[in-house]
């Protein structure tokens, strides 16, 4: 790792100020992507501004039909939150299956979606839940937030503060992990809303997380796994690597979508 200077911010405004003063600074939350990247010398920020000790970024609120999760909430906290488990158990399930215990106790929701790794789990949930991403500057609809691989609508000094979403009627998440990294080789989050079905796919798309139209259409009539029998998704635009061809990922999208629907329907 190259030399870097560590700063601990205690408020969002202080974090923004610290970034402005740094030569080539970076925000860090759980650091589960950034720190390994720095160790490999693929990133070398002059300054690290730690967001983990900012109280206003923490916490999970379930109020009526709305869920709001602070960006600094760790995966482990999301996984074990009792109120969230009633409102949207699929999200707890998703968080409980990210990485390993170390990752889950360090990594945060905000860090995950701000990084927008094409194989991360949270982007699928945020997109399928039609969540709103709150930042220190504005609110961004999930549909507008994820731009491309590792690219979001965030500006350099913009910090994700929370996500919020309306509790769906039903939701489920199923992923097929990459055998080596255990990231999603293909993960599908399905959510049945009052106004329709959204199905978001992570791990598979060449441009990162995306909504699978064929899956959504098939589920509009009946939110049942069997409604996906015979559904196919095109391999065009899907990633191909040593672990999975685009064709294999196209197959996994349908299989994981079925399993996600089964989970949403109570197993």
């Amino acid at each position: 790792m190259h030399q870097t200077t560590y700063h601990r911010a205690s408020s969002i405004s202080e974090a923004v100020k610290m970034l402005k003063e740094a030569e080539d600074g970076k925000f860090v939350a759980g650091g589960q992507t950034l720190i390994p990247t720095m160790k490999q010398r693929l990133a070398a920020p002059s300054d690290l501004i730690d967001l983990r000790h900012i109280g206003e970024l923490k916490g999970i609120e379930v109020a009526g039909n709305t869920v709001k999760i602070g960006a600094g909430t760790t995966h482990a906290e999301v996984a074990r939150d009792a109120a969230l488990a009633k409102a949207c158990p699929a999200l707890c399930h998703l968080a409980a299956h990210i990485g390993d215990p170390h990752v889950r106790h360090m990594g945060t929701l905000g860090g995950s979606i701000a990084n927008n790794d094409p194989a991360a789990d949270y982007p699928a949930a945020v997109l399928a839940l039609a969540a709103t991403v709150h930042t220190n500057k504005r609110e961004i609809a999930a549909d507008d937030f994820f731009v491309d691989l590792f690219e979001t609508a965030l500006e350099d000094d913009e910090i994700v503060t929370a996500i919020s979403f309306a509790v769906p009627e039903k939701a489920g998440y199923a992923k097929f992990p990459n055998p080596a990294s255990r990231y999603a080789l293909t993960g599908v989050f399905v959510a049945k809303h009052a106004d329709g079905v959204r199905a978001a796919v992570t791990g598979a798309g060449e441009n990162g997380v995306f909504r699978a139209e064929a899956i959504e259409k098939a589920l509009v009539g009946a939110f049942e796994a069997s409604a996906l029998d015979g559904t196919t998704v095109p391999a065009d635009g899907l990633m191909s690597d040593i672990h999975a061809s685009a064709e294999y990922r196209a197959n996994l999208i349908v299989v994981m979508a079925k399993r996600a629907v089964q989970a949403a329907n109570g197993g």
Binding site: R41, F176, P179, H243, Y248
Partner: protein, 779 residues
């Protein structure tokens, strides 16, 4: 045999320091004035070096020096060698390309060392290494061994035309072809044995220290055989004469073969220490381990196995292309020849066998022995072919094997090996019982109801361990003898130190060897210490690999114990005024048989050292040395049965049962043997399902250079193993032991693949059987 003697389930003495973090590994070593080294490595698979400019790097903070290949050559440091001569079938010697410890004018694989940077801190050395400007002219690369033989393929070494190192054969091709032509049935397969990265938990490391006052070098290194390292570095690499070079291999965190070899880094650290005047330490990071440790396996094979009308095997023909990587590693040449083709008879009577092996250079990391070394490749070829044949012939896989088992010993195979003992039916029966083989059809039906495809697969392996009779291997081209040494020192107060030429890097010698000694004299285990891994302490020895430490290393200890016991009896007889022949040493006493006269063991030892009252003419002291040369290999064998369930929608394989029935001969410590089997199975299952080293064929870049892409087996990937042993003692060594370190990795891959192919109903499947591959095979 007491509670802590041979056969007892003694917990490992060494584990206390390992699990409390008190192990001392090379990277823990600190020498006054020590500095840190980082290697500049080739980012290209194949390129000419047009120049190296280290001016900027040398001016960076903390940098002591940057040294390159031409300087190394100028100081007379020699090229790395392969120490086992193989001749092609036309009689020509193998074609060894020059391998300089630091590349001089060309690099041939990604990660090849080009320069060493020595600096005050590791980070400073890394910073400076990035500032070394190497001017490369890229050349086309080839990573696949079969493609490297094509006309027009990129050429690696001027010494090896067409990238061919040797074209070797064993057996008579014409006779085998004739028998296959006449056979009632011939099963043919094309198989790939996937390339593996060893992934020892402890990365390789070296600390070189040149002492100017004594003109003497010390090397701390992660080695399985420190004496061999010293010998090779003295005799071939011109680092220092043996009496001026001490090699210490302290606690070593796993080797699996990859720490047998002498690598460029340790040579360069020693040389750099003399050049810079400071002790130089290098520890590989994980990426370097992936790129630069000797890889394992990587064979392409075509096989044909012929049967007569009674389903008896008549002939086996095997044609293998072995990928050697960019350079010939220390023992690489022996692996796909004498450690591979000589095991192709397996557990079966096969009257005629022919095997042809072409060894090929490619732009990849060097390949050498990795847990099993040739024997897993042989077992995979034979056991996949036998299982496939059973399916083609419509006969049960167990019945086909039974019909062809060797049943009379000794048995001379057509491929050199002479099996001394075995009972293959016993392990087959034991495995089938443990697996409830007969209940499988019902389990398959039940799985079907859950939407899962269930399959069962078998593998009956044999291996040659206890490597090896020196004269025999010498006649086959080995550059060294493969005996082992031991010195047993009884101290004046009766405690015992054993200096062994074997080296423990996870095997548990500090426990098992002590059990052998404790058994002999009936002394407590904690009064016996095992000393190893330091050329200044221990007499010349050959180290640990090829499951040889029990069969060869412990046999040397037994021979030394024989001498100690004989002298101790003479002393006891003299003191007790009895006949030497009547003295028995047991339970910590020397007794006169049939009387109540005895002496405590400690008193016999003390008498040897006070020398106040010894038999006339006897030298004082109680310390004996033995060099034991085995008379034959040993032949562990067994039967493994895997049962799997495949998810037809995703191709994911779940191992639902794994049974191992091994015949290791006599067992010194069942607890340690079970641990060895578990570890071997994990590695074999890793190869079968998960691990695959992948180079990009166009660029030659290593794609699987981290755990993000290279799948190591995790606990959750493995079932709870059912292991058991049957026992036919080895007649060839005094303990009757055969060796257990590699069996799991040898026998398990074909069992797993046979089970998956049984589940999915096609034989066209290569390792690793990843979900994607299984899914594609089902389509």
């Amino acid at each position: 045999m007491g509670i802590e003697g041979i056969g007892a389930r003694v917990a490992r003495k060494e584990d206390k320091r390992f699990i409390t973090g008190l192990g001392r590994y090379v990277d823990d070593m600190v020498v006054p004035g020590m500095k840190h080294a980082v290697f500049v490595r080739s980012p290209h698979a194949h390129a000419a070096i047009k120049g190296i400019d280290a001016t900027a790097a040398k001016a960076m903070p903390g940098v002591i020096d940057v040294l390159t290949g031409p300087e190394l050559k100028a100081d007379g440091i020699g090229n790395l060698i392969c120490g086992w001569m193989i001749h092609s079938k036309d009689g020509s010697p193998m074609k060894m390309g020059a391998w300089s410890p630091l590349a001089v004018d060309r690099v041939r694989y990604v990660g090849e060392a080009v320069a060493i940077v020595v600096a005050e801190t590791r980070n400073q050395a890394r910073d400076a290494a990035e500032a070394v400007e190497v001017s490369y002219e890229e050349m086309p690369a080839v990573t696949d061994a079969a493609r490297a033989l094509d006309a027009g393929a990129p050429q690696l070494h001027p010494e090896a035309e067409g990238n061919l190192i040797y074209d070797w054969e064993i057996g008579e091709a014409a006779a085998v072809d004739e028998a296959l032509a006449k056979a009632a049935h011939v099963t043919r397969l094309k198989l790939v044995n996937n390339r593996l990265v060893p992934n020892a938990m402890e990365p390789r490391a070296a600390l070189g220290h040149y002492d100017m006052a004594e003109d003497h070098f010390t090397l701390w290194t992660t080695s399985q055989n420190p004496h061999v390292a010293r010998l090779v570095m003295s005799a071939f690499y011109n680092v220092a004469p043996e009496n001026k070079l001490r090699v210490i291999a302290p606690d070593v965190g796993g080797g699996f073969g990859s720490k047998i070899y002498i690598y460029p880094e340790e040579i360069v650290c020693l040389w750099a220490s003399k050049r810079t005047g400071v002790p130089v330490k290098w520890t590989a990071d994980r990426t370097e381990s992936f790129m630069c440790d000797a890889h394992g396996r990587d064979h392409h094979t075509e096989v044909a196995l012929g049967f007569d009308a009674d389903n008896r095997m008549v002939a086996l023909k095997v044609d293998t292309i072995a990928n050697f990587g960019a350079y010939m590693s220390l023992f690489s040449s022996a692996v796909p020849t004498y450690l591979y083709a000589t095991l192709l008879s397996g557990q079966y009577v096969i009257p005629k066998i022919h095997c042809n092996v072409r060894a090929v250079y490619t732009n990849t990391a060097p390949v050498d022995a990795y847990r099993g070394a040739g024997r897993p490749e042989a077992t995979y070829v034979l056991e996949r072919t036998v299982e496939t044949a059973a399916r083609e012939l419509g006969i049960s896989p167990a019945e086909l094997r039974r019909r062809n088992f060797i049943r009379e010993f000794p048995y001379q195979t057509p491929v050199i090996m002479n099996y001394d003992a075995g009972d293959y039916e016993a392990s087959l029966d034991a495995a089938m019982r443990a697996a409830d083989y007969d209940g499988f059809p019902a389990r398959r039906e039940e799985a079907k109801k859950r939407g899962k495809l269930r399959g069962i697969g078998m593998s009956c392996y044999i291996e040659a361990c206890g490597i090896a009779p020196s004269q025999a291997v010498g006649s086959l081209g080995a550059g060294v003898g493969l005996w082992e040494s031991a010195e047993v020192r009884v101290n004046a107060a009766g405690t015992i130190e054993v200096l062994t030429g074997s080296h423990s890097h996870g095997q548990g010698h500090e426990t098992t060897f002590a059990q052998v000694v404790a058994s002999r004299f009936g002394v407590p285990l904690d009064q016996v210490s095992i000393v190893h891994g330091d050329t200044d302490k221990v007499q010349m020895g050959m180290g640990t690999y090829g499951s040889r430490s029990g069969a060869v290393g412990a046999s040397a200890i037994v021979k030394a114990l024989d001498k100690v016991e004989a002298k101790a009896k003479k002393i006891a007889a003299h003191l007790l005024e009895a006949d030497e022949g009547d003295i028995v040493i047991e339970n910590g006493e020397a007794k006169v048989a049939g009387t109540d006269k005895s002496l405590p063991w400690a008193q016999v030892a003390l008498a040897a050292y006070t020398a106040h009252n010894l038999p006339e003419g006897m030298e004082p002291g109680l310390k004996e040395t033995s060099f034991y040369d085995p008379t034959n290999f040993t032949f562990p064998a067994g039967c493994y049965i895997a049962e799997v369930e495949v998810d037809p929608e995703t191709g994911h394989t779940d191992i639902v049962q794994f049974v191992a029935a091994d015949d290791f001969g006599n067992i010194i410590n069942p607890l340690i043997v079970e641990g060895q089997v578990h570890g071997g199975l994990a590695q074999g299952i890793g190869q079968a399902l998960l691990e695959g080293c992948h180079y990009d064929p166009a660029s030659g870049q290593l794609v699987t250079a981290s755990y993000m892409d290279y799948t190591m087996p995790r606990a959750g990937d493995l079932p709870s193993f059912k292991v058991s042993t049957t026992n036919t003692p080895c007649p060839g060594n005094p303990l009757g032991v055969k060796g257990c370190g590699e069996a799991g990795a040898i026998g398990s891959p074909p069992a797993i693949i046979n089970a998956i192919t049984d589940a999915i109903g096609t034989n066209a499947l290569d390792m690793p059987a990843t979900p994607q591959k299984v899914w594609a095979a089902m389509k």
